[in-house]
């Protein structure tokens, strides 16, 4: 059975980290530190999210002189919606809560 996209532990961790500060641009190395994911997993994941239109990226000038510009990331509106849906699924994996609330 094909796996649902972006539902892995790593994908959820990155989405959670990015959605925790939705307006803030975050950098690859900082994401790596905060999520504990290694770069070999993080970048393919970021690339995939970007391809799916869930993540936006831009180059930002370095804050410290003599260092290269950094690639910064944040979730798009679709990405934020996806992350919110993901969180809801984590809380209520089979969708029972609405039924319980009605009963």
């Amino acid at each position: 059975m094909p796996r649902k996209p972006n539902t892995s532990v790593h994908a959820r961790a990155v989405l959670a980290q990015l959605s925790a500060r939705p307006r803030e641009w975050q950098y690859g190395y900082d994401l790596l530190k905060r999520t504990g994911i290694n770069s070999g997993t993080l970048y393919p994941l970021l690339i995939r999210l970007h391809d799916q239109g869930l993540l936006e990226a831009e180059w930002q000038a370095a804050e410290v002189e003599g260092r290269p510009p950094r690639h910064a990331y944040r979730l798009t509106a679709n990405g934020l919606m996806f992350a919110a849906a993901q969180r809801a699924r984590d809380v209520d994996p089979v969708g029972l809560l609405p039924d319980l609330a009605r009963s």
């Binding site: 770069s39 070999g40 393919p44 290269p68 690639h71």
Partner: protein, 205 residues
Amino acid sequence: MMKSTTARRLCVMLMCLARHLMPRERNEWTRAMGAEVQYASDEENGLSYAIGCLASAVKMRLAQPVPHEVVIGTVAGSMFLGHAFIPNSQSWPWIWPVAAGIVTARFLSRESFATAVRAKAGLKAGVVCGLVFLTGAIIILWLSASFQGNESARRIGLIAYGSLGAVLLTALSAAAVPVHKGIADSHSSPSAIGHLRSKGPDRPQ
């Protein structure tokens, strides 16, 4: 921040390798990875980050569809090797051109026009190799006849025949893959890796 020259050099090497392995349409991401190495807190983290970047590049490369020329070349090369090791197979050297024709016809019939054009390049490579191996087979038959009873000489000839076939056909097929100008352009453009390389090891922060 990394200060050791050796660690920095190793990082540069790994990032350069990652840049070469990463599909060219993902160059921006290689630059992004290269830039972030500069922000690694220490040598150990920097190196483990660079190794991860290399792994990312390999993953992205493996996720790319394999060019048909390489598929044809590999299949045909394997056929050559198999052919060379089947006893008395020199008596039917025509098997290669026929097999190459069948494989190519399969690609031509199922794929789009663009792919068909590329498959034709593979076919050309196949025809050239077929001719080379037809000549090789004739030479081996002649050598076998000349050195009757010398089994080791015949064996060496067979191994050389099979190995050369695999290498030659795969190389020819790979050469048929169009060379994109963009690859050279992107590799010559200034990048974060170049920045890392040009930076002195003991520059104060």
